[in-house]
């Protein structure tokens, strides 16, 4: 089947190498457009002044952090059902980016909180859920790094990603419920009275840019992972970059 053609590391390596630069370039263009819209064009908010502009980073980053976890769960299901090795590698490649974005979401959320509500951390439902999502990412990375045997590492990681994905909605709703009970009239960092269409387009552009960035970085990372995993295979030994590296080392 044509689809499984790319399930072989050899072909996926080449595909990733071809796609990643285009995705990165397109992502950069969209990011510039989105930032220009958000920081230059969009009007300042009636209540929050100029400082609200950090939502053009905070909201897309939060969306992407959650989306990447769903993507990891998707690849995990593929890996468990079709037993392909590439699925485990793609899940691994996505995890560090997802963790970084979750951390950035917390960071930008704190930076927004200080000028607005006077405090860096608010136990808001979304921020708390994002914190737990960060722990889920870190747990996945820690487990897959600790297990040396590749097959067990991939499959254990897939199980963790799936169990986490099933739990994320439950965790989100329980934290939301907890938040309304304890905080009462709490602040909601992503609430705005009205969203002008220009603000919305700015956020959407940034989200798209981040999605392309995440895809490009994941594909680049998966190439390194493929090389590391398959280093004894014949096709790796014949790669131009590997031969060049070997020639350089022999020359020095």
């Amino acid at each position: 089947m044509k689809l499984f053609h790319y399930a072989a590391p050899h072909h996926f390596y080449r595909l990733a190498g071809r796609c990643a630069p285009w995705l990165a370039a397109l992502g950069s263009v969209l990011a510039l457009a989105g930032l220009w819209l958000g920081f230059m064009v969009a009007p300042s908010d009636a209540q929050q002044g100029q400082a609200y502009r950090i939502i053009y980073i905070h909201v897309p980053v939060s969306w992407m952090a959650m989306l990447i976890y769903l993507a990891m769960a998707f690849w995990s299901v593929l890996g468990l059902v079709f037993q392909t090795r590439m699925s485990g590698l793609m899940t691994r490649a996505l995890a560090p980016t997802g963790a970084l974005l979750a951390f950035l979401s917390l960071w930008t959320g704190a930076l927004w909180g200080k000028p607005m509500w006077g405090t860096y951390w608010v136990w808001d439902a979304r921020l708390t859920s994002m914190l737990i999502l960060l722990f889920l990412y870190l747990g996945y990375i820690a487990l897959t790094s600790a297990i040396e045997e590749p097959r067990r590492s991939d499959r254990a990681g897939a199980l963790v990603a799936l169990v986490g994905a099933v739990n994320v909605p439950i965790i989100y709703f329980s934290v939301k419920w907890w938040n309304t009970l304890h905080q009462g009239a709490s602040v909601s960092l992503t609430q705005s009275p009205r969203m002008a269409s220009v603000m919305l387009s700015g956020m959407l552009l940034m989200s798209l840019a981040l999605w392309l960035y995440a895809a490009a970085v994941a594909l680049w990372r998966v190439r390194s992972l493929i090389l590391a995993r398959e280093r004894h295979a014949a096709w790796v030994q014949q790669l131009p970059e590997v031969l060049a590296q070997r020639a350089r080392r022999a020359g020095t």
């Binding site: 889920l136 747990g139 600790a146 199980l159 963790v160 169990v163 907890w178």
Partner: protein, 232 residues
């Protein structure tokens, strides 16, 4: 030599045998089981020492502190769940047994709860008295722990199986498990809080029961899959 192999046995006998075996083993190693219990009591005693003995404050933090202490004590006892069986080869025999591994896992997790979870439930009212909780709150605390500790055992089984034989397994297990236990924690303490404020706690208890059913349905299967991975 029989011409045909014996018929498929009912899994209940194997489960009952495994449950009895684990209980018997726990009885022969009482000190290990009591360790987690002492930890529970100690942690619960540390908080008043750290925060101050004022009854109003203690009443506020009591349910939360006791729930977190129960959670940590469960984490502690999970390390022993599959380690012994893995090292002496019993886990392989269980994987090869005539009864499906999922059922045997249920028996093992059940035994674990009886040894580690149930004592926490029985001890919690006594510790609740230290936090100046009213009798209704004590009863609700015990009820939520009764429903919540099996969920901790079920989820903990998955974590223990995934980190079996992995270096740094204990801390890794906690890192994997604690985010997943947040819903149980939130609804367990929420129920006691609602009880203390005079609002009904039925919604919370229903959600806890739903969490128990969901983890009982899916947890053993995930745990068995992780165990087979560990045996490869």
């Amino acid at each position: 030599m029989r011409a045909t192999p014996p018929p498929v046995p009912s899994p209940w006998l194997a489960m009952a045998a495994l449950l009895r075996r684990d209980l018997r083993l726990a009885m022969r190693r009482k000190s290990e089981c009591l360790g987690a219990l002492f930890f529970f009591v100690l942690v619960a005693a540390l908080f008043p020492l750290a925060i101050g003995p004022e009854p109003a404050t203690l009443r506020l933090i009591g349910p939360g502190v006791l729930w977190v202490a129960a959670l940590l004590a469960s984490m502690l006892s999970l390390g022993r769940l599959f380690e012994g069986d893995h090292q002496d080869g019993s886990l392989e025999q269980m994987a090869l047994s005539a009864a499906p591994l999922t059922w045997l896992v249920i028996a093992k997790l059940g035994a674990h709860w009886l040894i580690s979870g149930l004592p926490l439930v029985l001890l919690s009212p006594l510790l609740g008295l230290q936090f100046a909780l009213a009798p209704e709150a004590l009863a609700m605390l015990a009820l939520t722990l009764l429903i919540g500790t099996p969920v901790l055992s079920l989820l903990g089984g998955i974590g223990a199986a995934l980190t079996l034989g992995v270096r740094g397994g204990g801390v890794l297990q906690s890192l994997l498990l604690l985010p997943l236990c947040v819903p149980v924690l939130v609804f367990g303490t929420g129920a006691v809080d609602a009880q203390m404020r005079g609002l009904g706690a039925q919604a919370h208890v229903s959600v806890l029961l739903a969490l128990l059913l969901a983890s009982a349905a899916l947890g053993p299967w995930a745990c068995a899959a992780a165990l087979r991975l560990a045996l490869e």
